[in-house]
């Protein structure tokens, strides 16, 4: 048994509609992912600075 799937001109609209639904969601995910990316990069910059500071102060204390 296979399900019925008749071809009508309507079908190309249906496939377009389905693709738009998918596209809109993927677009939103890309936006979210890009935003998360920016946040992660800020966090990395922050951590790198902290690490540098800590090391500098460590050096300073070992000299002093």
């Amino acid at each position: 048994i296979t399900p019925l799937s008749i071809y009508t001109g309507d079908e190309s609209m249906a496939s377009h509609f389905a693709l738009v639904t998918a596209y809109e969601d993927i677009k939103k995910r890309l936006k979210d992912s890009e935003k998360e990316n920016s946040l992660l990069k800020k966090r990395i910059r922050f951590l790198e600075e902290k690490l540098l500071e800590t090391r500098l102060s460590e050096d300073a204390s070992s000299v002093g």
């Binding site: 399900p3 799937s5 001109g9 309507d10 249906a14 496939s15 389905a18 998918a22 969601d25």
Partner: protein
């Protein structure tokens, strides 16, 4: 419902949402774990009457004709259409029949006349990578 190709573009645009959104898919995950069964939850909108040969297919995103379904299940026939709870339905797809790649797929509800009544957001069959659990 047949487009002859002679009509002005406006009709194509207006016709748009009327019947494509009669079925709403709910709780669709972004990722389904490969090798597991999946449950497809959907809601019948108010005036939609399901029929015996309606079906739900899993389609690879970008499909052109409903014949391209990867796998399908017959839609559930609600016991009593007048009860509120009948509007919430679900069907289960067995792991064996599911795609084995990590492409994007979507559920589509096709009625027994071959008309598409709803399409879901896309999902993939892959584990969410463990790095993604880290919260910023």
């Amino acid at each position: 419902m047949e487009e002859t190709g002679e009509e002005p573009p406006t009709s194509a645009v207006l016709l748009d949402h009327c019947h494509f959104s009669q079925i709403i898919f709910n709780n669709v995950e972004k990722f389904y774990i490969p090798g597991g069964d999946i449950t497809c939850h959907y809601t019948l909108t108010q005036h939609f009457i399901p029929r015996r040969k309606d079906w739900i297919g899993i389609f690879r995103v970008g499909w052109k004709t409903t014949r391209e379904y990867y796998t399908f299940m017959w839609a559930t026939l609600p016991a009593d259409l007048n009860s509120k709870s009948s509007l919430q339905q679900q069907v289960q797809f067995k792991a064996y029949y599911l795609p084995k790649d990590d492409e994007y797929y979507q559920f589509c509800y096709v009625d027994q006349d071959g008309v598409v009544r709803g399409a879901s957001v896309p999902f993939q069959f892959r584990p969410e990578s463990e790095e993604d659990i880290l919260v910023v």
